[in-house]
């Protein structure tokens, strides 16, 4: 147990150090998200958003920005031979999965720390919705990072990786998006946050996270075999 945790920490630390030194994913994700807000501002021709429109713009942007990061999460391992080195190490492959998913979770959280205040600044009349939005963001991040790691590790060995990740991921993520927008749209209500069905949506997202945690745990071994 202790060894597993050490290995997980080492892998996660390596992941975060690499990102801090190369800045491969995060800056691109942030830039992409902010630019997308501007596109929505003119596409929808609105300067203020509320209700389901605000939820839709926020979640669409976050989802597409996260795909940029998901696409890259295994690329460096493939290019630098990280997969082979990991196979040589006496560590269960689930640890690798858990470390990658945790790294992705951290990227998404950092992305949201920057981008959600920008969103509020651009489109929201006040900041009242942001506090209750935090649990929705965190539970959604968990689901996106689990599923994203799984799909990315499947697609990374194929010839058309960049194409396949969004193609496979988007239908799979629809239920999570339904629940995330369902929970956050009432929070953005023009007359202040409403907690309409909030708990129910969080439970759907929790169920979703749980199912893909189990699936990832069960199958990741077979994705790493050579």
């Amino acid at each position: 147990m202790r060894r597993t945790l050490d290995a997980w920490q080492a892998l996660l630390g390596k992941e975060l150090r690499t990102e801090a030194r190369t800045m491969r994913s995060l800056p691109a994700m942030v830039l992409f998200a902010v630019t997308t807000f501007i596109i929505f501002r003119y596409g929808l021709d609105r300067t203020q958003l509320s209700g389901s429109l605000a939820g839709g713009v926020l979640w669409t942007t976050l989802l597409f920005a996260s795909i940029l990061g998901i696409n890259r999460i295994f690329v460096s391992e493939l290019e630098e031979g990280g997969f082979d080195s990991f196979r040589l190490a006496p560590v269960a492959s689930n640890v690798f999965f858990a470390a990658k998913a945790a790294a992705l979770f951290i990227y998404l959280t950092v992305l949201e720390l920057i981008v959600v205040p920008v969103f509020a600044l651009f489109f929201l009349p006040d900041w009242a919705a942001l506090l209750p939005l935090i649990p929705v963001l965190l539970i959604a991040n968990l689901g996106i990072s689990l599923l994203g790691t799984l799909i990315s590790s499947m697609a990374v060995n194929s010839t058309s990786r960049d194409l396949l990740v969004p193609l496979i991921l988007l239908p799979l993520i629809v239920p999570l998006m339904i629940a995330a927008t369902g929970a956050s749209a009432p929070l953005f209500d023009a007359s202040g946050p409403v907690f309409d069905g909030f708990g129910g949506w969080l439970m759907v997202m929790g169920l979703y996270d749980g199912v893909f945690l189990l699936v990832g745990y069960a199958v990741f071994d077979f994705l790493l075999e050579d």
Partner: protein
Amino acid sequence: MRPSALRLLSIATVITLIAGFGLVFFWTPMDADQGFKQKIFYLHVPLAIMALVGFIAAGVEGYRHIRTGNSRHDLNSYVFIHISVVFGVAVLVTGAIWAQASWGKWWVWEEPTLVSFLIVFLLYCTYYPFRYAIEDRERQARYASVFAITAGAFVPLNFIAVRMAESVIHPRVFATAEGGLPPSMMLTFLVCMAGIALLWVTLVKLELVGKRVNGQISKLQRLVGEEPAGSSTGRRVSPQAEV
């Protein structure tokens, strides 16, 4: 499967389907609300059920493949998804026709079952580009199985989420306030369901036989020192039966 058994299965499928559609057209009462149009129910619903059962069964076969490493299960998983995707096209077409007939629109977003089905269908459509984008055959089989498992787990989740998001206006044919389907309609539905299920099994068996024959032909060609047909075009696009 022996040729005679396959022929028997095909004949049983044809007979059951003819009997089912005969009952649909000449025996079941007209729906009080929707009239003749409602009869597409006997085609649409069994097709949808069979497609979803096929997707889940493909996930189970995928799981058996990665557990045992036996490529037969991978082949089954591939063929199940193939036939279920074909059924899925039919489900979406008949669903659109039914929507047009009863609501006057070809597509209705408030209809959770159809929307869920579309999402599942789009997901399984990516099975082929995904599978063929992996060059190594063994890895291809393993990854396709992982896909089948993930997607199989996703099917029920998706139905829960979409149903929660939409008001429920799908015609609840089985459980209405009047106490459900009348016996004659229920019997007809069951006959049609059996017919469509037999059709699914027959198509699966046919494709498996086809793969087997292909495998035998390339084996024979290799024995006489010929290049098997299709091997010059690069990678093999679909799994073959072990001979």
